[in-house]
Every structure is written in structure tokens, then in C-alpha cells.
């Protein structure tokens, strides 16, 4: 029997507001431990939370980007449990009246988006690295009370790869909105996955497990694959999946149980009496809508409509800075540049040279790259030499035409008399190859072209060389 995974994701994204969600302390990552604190975020006796309105504004943008239905009124609730990183003994979150429900981002439906405060950071001294068995644990409350949006998807994801791809879209969307920097190392994006499997063709859901707190896209993919494999092996051996919360160790690939359903917390949710419900007005919604930038999904569609291939359009749309670079190059005004060939140069050649770095911060100005692509289109430089020019641009910047000129990299034009004697010499030096070509083996032309290219330092146009060879051999 074949099984298919059914996966739902719960993503915690830290919102990039200046201040924390319920006090005026800085929400900036890092800093001297316990310096971004006040009586409110330390949970001192007698303090009260006051909602940071910027958090609502950011979350509304996020909800609009995910095509969510924003509720006219939302409210906060207390989620009660004891832990040293939770200074009040409860987390202020949203329960039965979240900011919004429904919606979709890409091909995955959104169940709900709600707001909550982050816990503080625990650091454990000792070998175990966890609270149990540690010699001592200390708490840094700088992170406590920073605003989080929790995005819960419907169980629409069918593979680990799809999960990773969707998270990439989410990350790009959040960055594009400017509401989160979505930096997994700094913990500003954390992901849990609810995973079950079922026989292919079945519409019933199997028993799910929850894989907690994965903090890199790679670990998420590996963790989901490992858990799906574990569940499959279990079912194939006639066993049953038990509902439990699991931890994936990326070093050992081991999956361990954190707690079973019986041990699950009873969070005793109840309406937060220290806060009043938040009314989301038509004006607030309109303001958020007006402030929306073009989102990756829309950009992808628009780029495809320009005639760019699906793969390049997605890459340009999902890497905002790459898309911005491309559009700047396109707008630099060289009408001879083909849209798709420019996309090729950005997505392949440029990315191969700058990697994950922001190309806008590189030495290659967008108009310089567009100029180089235009030189190629005009056959003023060969593709091979254009790549050398790009190497120079990446290393030193500058103007492509000047580099071509200074380095004598300009193509030898088709009508140029200079090419003919070189082709003649190449035919003479490669008589075997010439014979084979005459006999109909066109593969042998490579040796002739190679000879010409060596002689011209790559400045010859391959197509022109081929034309000359054929005519001289009477083909």
C-alpha cells in the first residue's frame, strides 16, 4: 500500500515592530541580557499590558497578503502554564477570537492568524543543554514580550519539499511586507508541523503527531521526511501512530517524544481581563491595504506575462532583491535587451557569481548588466567573452563596453575579412576533421571552431565560423 503524507504547518513569525507587544521596551534582537525589560515584560506584581497598535497594523498586512478574512473584532486570551521563560505564568495569546480566519497563500489554505507574545530565552548551563539535568538555568527577558504572529495552515501540504517551498514563499512575502525579517537563526521564524499519513486515495485523516520548534528550512524538510518515514514503517509493521509531540534532532536525525496526549497541557484558556477587544475598523483595513506592496505571488504572475519562463519568474519573484535588481536592469532603458535573456543572465550567471548575497549590494550595477546583455544581443561580444566581462564587473565594477574595448574582447564581425584567413589556417591544420565534415560528420566541426577561438581569444562568432567552414568545404 502506498501512503501520502498530510501536513499542516504552524509558523511563528516575529513582527518587526520597534517596541514589544505589550510594553514600550525595544523588541530588537540581542543586546545585553535583561536590558530590554521593564516591570510589564518582567511580569512584576500589579502591572498591566497595553497593546502596541503597530503590531495590529503589521498583522493586518500579513493577513491581507494571505487573503484572510479579517474579523471586525478580535480579543486576547490567557494561555496558562508554568515555565521560567514565561514571567506571568501565562502567555497572552488569542484563542476563540483571532485576528483572522480563512485565506490562502500560494496553494496552501490558511486556517487562522493570531497574535501573541513571545517567551523569554532560557540558557542552560551544563552538559544536557536542556532544563532537566542542567547545573543551572538563567533567563534573558529581552525576547520576552516581543510580538509574534502565529500562522496556522490547513493540512494541505503533501510533502516535505512542498513544505519547504511554501515556507520560502511565506518568508519572501513577510519580508516584502516589511513586517518580519524572518531570520531563523535569530528565532524570528519558527515552525511546527502536524504530520499524519494515509493510504493514497483515502480522504480520512490519520492520527497526527506534532513536530516541534524546527528552526531552519533544511531541518524542517529533513524532520518531516524522517517523521513520515517513521510513521510509514510503523504502519507497515502493523503498528499504530500515537498522538504525541515530538522533537527532531538534526544532528542525529533522531525523533524523540516530548509528551503524549495524556501529558498534554491543559492551558485553561480564558478571556484576558486586562485588555479590551480590538476593533479593526474599515479605515484601518483600508490603510493597511493601501500600504501593501506588490507581493511575490502577484509579481510572479506579472513577470510570466512579460514572457519570462516560469522557473525564472518564480526565482525573481520569491527573491525580492533579485527581482528588484532584474527590474532595475530592465528599466535601465536598453531596448535591444530581450526580457528572457536578461532574466537568464540575472538568474543564472549573476546568481552563480553573487550566490545568496543581495546583487544590489554587488559592484555590478543593474544598468551595466543590461548593457552587457545588449552587447551580446548585438553580437558585439560573444557569450563566452561576455562571461569574462561579468567576472570583471563582479570583481571591480565598471562599464562593460569599456572593458570589452580595453581588453580587446570585441567580437570579430561576420563580414570582417580578418576571420577568413584564420578559418583557412584552421582547416589546413585539422585536415582529418575537415575530411570528416566533408563526409557528413558535423560533430567534427568542434575542432575547427576550437582552433579559431584559440586564435581569436574567443572573439569569433561561432555561427559565423560554422558558416565559413561549410562554404569553404562546399557544403
Amino acid at each position: 500500500m502506498d501512503y501520502e503524507p498530510v501536513i499542516g504547518l504552524e509558523v511563528h513569525a516575529q513582527l518587526l515592530t520597534q517596541a514589544k507587544i505589550f510594553c514600550g521596551c525595544s523588541a530588537k534582537f540581542g543586546g545585553v541580557p535583561n536590558h530590554h525589560t521593564c516591570p510589564v515584560c518582567l511580569g512584576m506584581p500589579g502591572v498591566l499590558p497595553v497593546l502596541n497598535k503597530k503590531v495590529v497594523e503589521y498583522a493586518m498586512k500579513m493577513a491581507l497578503a494571505a487573503n484572510c478574512r479579517i474579523n471586525g473584532e478580535c480579543s486576547f486570551a490567557r494561555k496558562n502554564y508554568f515555565y521560567p521563560d514565561l514571567p506571568k505564568g501565562y502567555q497572552i495569546s488569542q484563542y476563540d477570537e483571532p485576528l483572522c480566519r480563512g485565506g490562502h497563500l500560494g496553494d496552501v489554505r490558511i486556517h487562522r492568524v493570531h497574535l501573541e507574545e513571545d517567551a523569554a530565552k532560557l540558557v542552560h548551563a551544563g552538559a544536557s543543554g536542556r532544563i532537566h539535568g542542567s547545573d543551572a538555568s538563567v533567563v534573558d527577558f529581552n525576547r520576552g514580550g516581543t510580538p509574534l504572529a502565529e500562522i496556522v495552515t490547513e493540512p494541505d501540504v503533501r510533502s516535505a519539499a512542498q513544505a519547504r517551498e511554501w515556507l520560502t514563499l511565506l518568508r519572501t512575502t513577510l519580508r516584502r511586507l516589511g513586517v518580519s525579517d524572518v531570520n531563523m537563526e535569530e528565532g524570528s521564524l519558527r515552525c511546527d508541523a502536524n504530520i499524519s499519513i494515509r493510504p493514497v486515495g483515502s480522504t480520512e485523516l490519520g492520527t497526527k503527531t506534532e513536530l516541534k520548534n524546527m528552526n531552519s528550512f533544511r531541518f524542517i524538510e529533513r524532520g518531516i521526511n524522517a517523521e513520515v518515514a517513521r510513521q510509514e514503517a510503523l504502519l507497515r509493521d502493523g503498528g499504530q501512530v500515537v498522538q504525541e509531540t515530538l522533537h527532531f534532532d538534526p544532528r542525529t536525525e533522531a525523533i524523540t517524544s516530548l509528551r503524549s496526549k495524556e501529558e498534554a497541557h491543559d492551558y485553561r484558556y480564558f478571556p484576558e481581563p486586562d485588555l479590551v477587544p480590538v476593533a479593526t475598523s474599515v479605515e484601518m483595513l483600508a490603510a493597511a491595504r493601501d500600504a501593501m506592496p506588490e507581493l511575490p505571488a502577484a509579481r510572479e504572475e506579472r513577470l510570466q506575462a512579460l514572457g519570462i519562463s516560469a522557473a525564472d519568474a518564480r526565482q525573481l519573484a520569491w527573491r525580492t532583491e533579485l527581482g528588484d535588481y532584474f527590474e532595475a536592469a530592465l528599466a535601465s532603458g536598453n531596448s535591444r535587451v530581450g526580457v528572457q535573456s536578461l532574466a537568464n543572465w540575472v538568474c543564472n550567471e549573476l546568481v552563480a557569481r553573487v550566490g545568496e548575497d543581495d546583487p544590489n549590494a554587488s559592484k555590478v550595477r543593474p544598468d551595466a548588466l543590461a548593457g552587457l546583455v545588449a552587447l551580446v544581443a548585438a553580437k558585439a561580444v560573444t557569450v563566452g567573452n561576455a562571461k569574462l566581462v561579468l567576472d570583471r564587473l563582479v570583481a571591480e565594477g565598471g562599464d562593460p563596453a569599456q572593458i570589452v574595448e580595453a581588453e580587446d574582447l570585441g567580437a570579430i564581425a561576420g563580414g570582417d575579412d580578418a576571420l577568413e584567413p584564420i578559418v583557412d589556417a584552421a582547416l589546413a591544420a585539422n585536415a582529418d576533421a575537415a575530411e570528416k565534415i566533408r563526409a557528413g560528420n558535423m560533430k567534427a566541426i568542434g575542432a575547427i571552431i576550437g582552433h579559431v577561438m584559440r586564435e581569436t581569444k574567443g572573439r569569433a562568432d561561432g555561427a559565423e565560423v560554422t558558416r565559413l567552414v561549410r562554404s569553404k568545404l562546399g557544403l
Partner: protein
């Protein structure tokens, strides 16, 4: 004026004397400081020392008349323990908004008053620092939870005091000590810096010798506070009352809270009936009204308040401040710290609240109690269509003997029978001294719609003048 003479003045009269230049605020402060330091009722947990005498506030509306403040208000650098062992010695880094507001208006901090632990109790016997004694009879309780504040004002060691009322914690001790206690409309006074018992019910209010003092203090307490999202302030200003008539006032007397079968002591009922007659003589009409859901108020209250408390008190975990008992691991520390730090009544309410919020019980307890709360608010709303005020005895009994009810929590809870409905409805209610029963004070409670404080104070003032209560029995010097 001698020191004793000074402390005989009402707070408003003392403020006037300061403003006229007849009395120095330093002299006033020292007279009360000495009286508070000499307190024999265990009313204070902390008293300002002589060096802390504040600068005379020039032209401040409260004239430098010092203020006794219930322990649970946070006061920067000054012990604020909410009557609990778990916060023993805790000195907060900040001051509660209302205390800061009153200090700015010219009411400096005189001392911190004893209370039931986390405001849970009706006799002050739940304080971790020992019970407060009733100044009328030191073998009896002062009521609670603001028992220290009530006893201090009644005994004359404080000109006025700040208390908090969750289900009657200002009004009931005011009644048992023969003073005035006012619980304002929920949201008029900031809760920022008040150590929480039940957030949706807690409200700060004045405990004073007379209605005028209550109005004067309240006038400088109300106001919206950006640090408290639930604070709404007061529309307009609190005025000093001056009415001597109740002409045209319609008083509703709810059978459910004052009838023969509801367990109110005969002496208290007699005093209540006599004041109703007095009200009629001042021009009021008195009629029976109905609050059909009021008999369920106490049950709803003892679901809702403990539920909120179970969550509010979770922060006392030994991690950041207050007491900590080490016991190897984390769970051990939590358990030992909270076992040692909380008293039995607090533990009882944490257990009650935890239970009623538990999955599977939430709808049956918390959900149903919230519906009862709505019904009670509707009962009052319809009563106020026909009546200006609803009036009841404040407490079903006079001050009882220390230890009389400690073994029976349910009979202790019944002390709040007449005060809890107004708390659930969030409406203003005042208790004024209503004569004596067997030598001990009784209280008369008058409540009105939300934000009717000015009218409530006017009516209470008119009644107060007519009743002519003699408070001398509470003063050790005999007046």
C-alpha cells in the same frame, strides 16, 4: 492645635486648614505618623519615618493630608506585599498610578495597611502578618479585605485611606468599622500597580471618615490611564456633595438582598429599616424592587474571581522576586515556593479557579458564571429604570469575633452577600455608617448606575447628615 486635635479634623477640614495657612502640612504629617507608629490594631505593615515627611505641596488640592494605602498598591522602594508571605519584603521599582496621582495632588504616603492575603477574605484574618483588630472591640474583626485601611481610619491613625474592592472589600470593612467606603464604577480608577486579585472586578476606592472626604479623595483618583487599557476615566468631575434633601429620590429595596429570609441579623435589619424611614422623611420614596438573579451572585463570583486569581497569582513562582524555596529541580522549586508562600485561603481559591477553567469544566462553571453576571447587570439596569438607587444593608452582620468563621469558609463568604452583585455589575456603591447594633457599627449601602458617583455621593451625604453617626467609640482616646 495639639497633635490630637489635628487628627480629629476630617481630611477635607485638615486640607482646608492647610490651604488657609492655619496648619502646617509637616505638623499634620508628623501627628499622623506618630499615631500610625503607635497603632495597636496591627493595621499597618509599614509606616513612613520622620525623615520621609514630604515637602509642603504649595496649593495642592489635597493639602498634604497623608494617606494610608492598602499593602497591595505598589509603592516604589516601599514594601508592597499584598499581605502575603510570598511577597515578604518585596519593594517594587515603581508606584501604582492612583497612588502617584494622589501624591501629586497632595496626599503623601503615610503607611501601608494590613489586608487579607491578595485581598481574599472578609475578616483580615487571612493576612500573613496577623489579623487586624476592630477598633470598636479588639476581640472582633475589622472586616476585609481592606481591614487595615478601615481600622486605621476608624481609629483615627489615618485621615483617610485607599482600599480595593473586588466583591465588597472596601464596603464591608467600612461598615464593620463605622466609616464610609466607596467602590467606584469599574474602570474609573486605574488599576496599574494594584497587585491583582480578580482583574475584571478589582477597583480602588476611598475609605474615609465621612462622605465629603470620600468625594474629595475620589475626585483626585479618577481618570483614564494609558497604562491600564480597561480604564475609562470619569465623564466630568467629582463634586463635593452638599444636599440635605432626598426630595423626589426613588429608592428601590431589593427583597433578594434585604428580605427576612436571607440571613441578615435582626439588629442590622432594624437599623436598615430605620434609615429607610429617615429617607422618607427627607423626601424619598421607598419601594420594593426585584433583582431576581442576585441570589446567584455569590456563586458566580466564587467561580469568576478565583478563576482570574488562579491565573493572576501564577507569576509568584520564585523565579524573579519574592520568596523562593529551593528544592533541587524546577517543579520542586515551584511547588515548595508556592506551598510555603501562600496561605490556605489563597490556595483554596487557586484550586477552585484552576478547576473551573479546566478543559471540560469551563462551560459549566466559568461560562455559566459569566452568563449569570450578565443577567445581574441586566437586573440592575431594569431596576434603575424605575429607581434612582438600590439600597441594602452593607453586611449581613456586625463585626464578628476573631476566629468565629475561620473554620467555615462558606459562612465567611456570606459576608459578601449584599456587596457582590454590584461588583459583578461594575456599578458604583457606597457604604455609610448606619448607627449601632449591640454597640457595633452597621452599614447602609446605596448604589446607582455606572458613573452616577456624583448622585450617589449627594444622596449618601444627605443621609449621613440625617443619621448623625457618632464615631467616637472607635477612638482609643474616646474622642
Amino acid at each position: 492645635m495639639s497633635a490630637t486635635d489635628v487628627t480629629l479634623l476630617s481630611a477635607a477640614a485638615a486640607a482646608r486648614a492647610v490651604q488657609r495657612g492655619e496648619l502646617s502640612p509637616a505638623e499634620l504629617f508628623q501627628a499622623y505618623r506618630a499615631a500610625a507608629a503607635a497603632d495597636e490594631l496591627n493595621a499597618y505593615l509599614w509606616v513612613a519615618d520622620e525623615a520621609q515627611a514630604p515637602e509642603a505641596p504649595a496649593g495642592a488640592p489635597l493639602g498634604g493630608v497623608p494617606l494610608a494605602v492598602k499593602d497591595l498598591f505598589c509603592t516604589a522602594g516601599v514594601p508592597s506585599q499584598a499581605g502575603s508571605r510570598i511577597l515578604e519584603g518585596y519593594r517594587p521599582p515603581y508606584t501604582a498610578s492612583v497612588v502617584a496621582r494622589l501624591a501629586a495632588a497632595g496626599a503623601p504616603l503615610l503607611g501601608k495597611t494590613n489586608q487579607d492575603e491578595f485581598a481574599m477574605g472578609s475578616s483580615n484574618e487571612n493576612s500573613a502578618f496577623g489579623p487586624v483588630l476592630n477598633p470598636w472591640d479588639r476581640t472582633r474583626v475589622p472586616g476585609g479585605s481592606s481591614g487595615g485601611s478601615a481600622a486605621a481610619v476608624a481609629a483615627g491613625s489615618a485621615p483617610w485611606a485607599l482600599g480595593t474592592d473586588t466583591g465588597g472589600s472596601i464596603r464591608q470593612p467600612a461598615a464593620l468599622c463605622g466609616i464610609v467606603g466607596l467602590k467606584p464604577t469599574y474602570g474609573t480608577v486605574s488599576r496599574y500597580g494594584m497587585i491583582a486579585f480578580a482583574s475584571s472586578l478589582d477597583q480602588a476606592g476611598p475609605l474615609t471618615r465621612d462622605v465629603t472626604d470620600a468625594a474629595l479623595l475620589l475626585a483626585h483618583m479618577v481618570g483614564q490611564d494609558e497604562r491600564d487599557s480597561t480604564s475609562i476615566g470619569f465623564p466630568g468631575e467629582i463634586a463635593l456633595p452638599r444636599s440635605d434633601s432626598l426630595a423626589g429620590i426613588r429608592l428601590g429595596v431589593p427583597e433578594e438582598l434585604s428580605g427576612a429570609g436571607v440571613g441578615i441579623e435582626p439588629g442590622v435589619l432594624d437599623a436598615f429599616g430605620a434609615t429607610l424611614k429617615l429617607a422618607e422623611s427627607l423626601g424619598a420614596t421607598v419601594e420594593t424592587c426585584r433583582l431576581p438573579h442576585a441570589p446567584h451572585a455569590l456563586s458566580a463570583y466564587y467561580v469568576l474571581a478565583p478563576a482570574e486569581a488562579s491565573s493572576n497569582l501564577a507569576r509568584y513562582d520564585g523565579v524573579r522576586y519574592g520568596a523562593r524555596v529551593e528544592d533541587g529541580g524546577l517543579v520542586g522549586m515551584y511547588t515548595q515556593t508556592r506551598s510555603a508562600g501562600f496561605g490556605p485561603e489563597v490556595k483554596r481559591r487557586i484550586m477552585l479557579g484552576t478547576y473551573s477553567l479546566s478543559s471540560g469544566y469551563y462551560d459549566a462553571y466559568y461560562g455559566r458564571a459569566q452568563r449569570v453576571r450578565t443577567k445581574i447587570a441586566e437586573d440592575f439596569a431594569s431596576a434603575f429604570e424605575r429607581f434612582d438607587f438600590v439600597v441594602t444593608p452593607t453586611s449581613p452582620s456586625v463585626a464578628f469575633e476573631l476566629g468565629a468563621k475561620t473554620a467555615d469558609p462558606l459562612s465567611m463568604y456570606l459576608n459578601d452577600y449584599c456587596t457582590v452583585p454590584m461588583s459583578l455589575a461594575g456599578i458604583p456603591a457606597i457604604s455609610i455608617p448606619n448607627g449601632l447594633s449591640a454597640g457595633l457599627p452597621t452599614g447602609f449601602q446605596l448604589c446607582g448606575p455606572a458613573f452616577s458617583e456624583n448622585r450617589v455621593l449627594e444622596a449618601a451625604f444627605a443621609l449621613e447628615q440625617a443619621i448623625g453617626f457618632d464615631a467616637a467609640g472607635a477612638r482609643s482616646d474616646g474622642g
